[in-house]
Amino acid sequence: MPEFNAKTLKEADALCERYAEKLHALLPLLHLVQRENGGWLPPGWDAYIAEYCETTLNHVRGVITFYNMYHTEPVGKYHLMVCTCVPCGLCGGDGVLEHLEQRLGLRPGQTSPDGLFSLEEVQCLAACDKAPLVQVNEEVYERVGPDQLDKLIDDARKKSA
């Protein structure tokens, strides 16, 4: 079973102190594990976190599967989230998704074999005035067209070459 190192353990303990009970820190704890593991939850962490929070493995798995942002499979170094909700979907969101699907050869939910990109279709990101948009990790790129998307991909490839 994996476990926190001294530094992350300290961070985790500090998180728990912000709540009335240790279990309440479960969401931030899972975020912490993902941050430390390239954006996903490798096997075994669910059991470790359950033990750490003094809860059941079932509870932790129930939470992991309920929320969209916890990944039990590896995600790309660049996680591309395209909003095709309303209103973005009616303001060019589909075009952005199609372009990225073609350029990356990925369907939503897939990660490229080199681990560089993953593509996800998402619901409203509270930035509808910037449609069409794509969020790459933490950064939102607004009113994106094909050229800007290509540049984004090329820059990412260059940076990781």
Binding site: Y70, A126, C128, D129
Partner: protein, 417 residues
């Protein structure tokens, strides 16, 4: 552009304003906190907010001061204030503007409001995807701790307050206040049976008020300027200004601050600059994806809580989504039900199954396989979700779908084989 009435965006609209602590102080920031903590009892803060007529900006429009008044005192348990910064209603992006560009105004409102309900640990529940905004919020909070505006003995008054940012993890339903509290307790975000209401048993079983970002950000203005000044804005029973998120096919999508009661037509044509490419308007979904659609002939309505209810829809989170003549209403309806199907928490059968059926039924129309019986089935299934579920999500998903078919039947008929 028509002129805004600036209470909440007054700083943001100034050129050069960056929203740093120094910037905010220069505009007179934290005077309301000083006044509240040094000259007012918590009850007095509650009273001025109640008298102002401020109604919650999260969607339901419940009077804020009244809600705070429901929290029992002397229970021997701590009281909590939880800010709802989930902002996941499609079309809505005003709360993020406040957090990103005038974070200290919002935090001042949060601190004053915590004081008003005798809370010593406030939580801000922000949606998981907004990592940058969450970091920005955390940095601002760290700064306030250093400055003695959070933590022990704030401004030397003996008032102690801790503040924690809690990130969600991608689930629209966590905007519903009891689902939010479940999520804050490390559980799946599934709404609770009410009663008990959060005011009585909220976070950790303790008295809790859940309030929207914009609601809390309005409190410093009210404390500074008084209840009468606030009530003088807007229309009777719909006091004040509201941040309106306008999106879709308009020339200038964005957030506009207006007095409640301005006409919806004016919002679209005077504030947001009219329809892109000078096309004709076809439809407006006036208050986020949960609100029933209005046709182009129905936009001469005052934009406030009560007038929109009278017009058969609702103001919701104040997010008009504007669609031009080229829009396929079936496409719009499909995306809307797809959203609700994706986000249903699954506890109630009408919501879980109904949204799934609706999505598939409307998908049939997109594939040009619609017919009259499917149209009535959409209405029947959507209608069957209204009033039959544990939380308002069922209504929120059912009502707009019924309205699409009722108001735009010809659009659906275009998709018959």
């Amino acid at each position: 552009m028509a002129e805004e009435k600036l209470l909440l965006l007054k700083n943001i609209r100034k050129s050069g304003y960056k929203g740093t602590l120094a910037d905010y102080r220069k505009t007179g920031g934290f005077t309301a906190l000083d006044k509240a903590l040094k000259q007012m009892k918590p009850e007095a803060v509650q009273a001025v907010v109640k008298d102002s007529g401020l109604r919650g900006r999260g969607g339901a429009g419940f009077p804020t001061g009244v809600k705070w008044g429901f929290m029992p005192k002397d229970t021997g348990k701590p009281s909590y204030l939880v800010c709802n910064a989930d902002e996941a209603e499609p079309g809505t992006f005003k709360d993020h503007l406040l957090i990103n560009e005038d974070v200290h105004m919002f935090l001042e409102g949060m601190i004053v409001s915590c004081y008003a309900v005798d809370c010593h640990h406030g939580y801000i529940y922000i949606r998981g995807e907004s990592m940058k905004s969450a970091k920005h919020l955390q940095q601002a909070i760290d700064e306030l701790y250093k400055e003695g505006l959070l933590g022990k003995n704030i401004l030397g008054t003996g008032y102690d307050l801790d503040m924690t940012v809690h990130r969600g993890a991608g689930a629209y339903i966590c905007g519903e206040e009891t689902a939010l509290l479940e999520s804050l307790e490390g559980k799946r975000g599934q709404p609770r049976v009410k009663p008990p209401f959060p005011a009585v048993a909220g976070y950790n079983g303790c008295p809790t008020s859940v309030n929207n970002v914009e609601t809390l950000a309005t409190v410093p203005w009210i404390v500074n300027e008084g209840a009468e000044a606030y009530k003088a804005l807007g229309t009777p029973n719909n006091a004040g200004t509201h941040l309106v998120s306008i999106s879709g096919h308009v020339k200038q999508p964005g957030v506009y601050e207006v007095e409640l009661g301005v006409s919806l037509r004016s919002l679209i044509y005077d504030y947001a600059g009219g329809i892109r490419g000078d096309k004709q308007l076809k439809a407006v979904v006036p208050g986020g994806a949960s609100s029933p659609v209005l046709t182009a002939d129905e936009i001469d309505v005052p934009y406030d809580f009560d007038s929109l209810v009278k017009a058969g829809t609702m103001m919701g989170s104040a997010a008009p989504m504007v669609y031009d003549e080229d829009t396929d209403i079936v496409e719009l309806a499909y995306r809307t039900t797809r959203f609700f199907n994706h986000e249903s928490c699954g506890q109630c059968t009408p919501c879980r199954e109904g949204n799934f059926w609706l999505k598939n039924l409307i998908r049939d129309f997109l594939d040009d396989a619609g017919d009259e019986s499917k149209m009535s089935r959409v209405k029947r299934v959507a209608g069957g979700m209204i009033g039959t579920t544990l939380c308002p999500f069922g209504d929120a998903a059912g009502m707009p779908t019924v309205a699409f078919v009722q108001k735009f039947p010809e659009e659906f008929r275009k998709h018959f084989p």
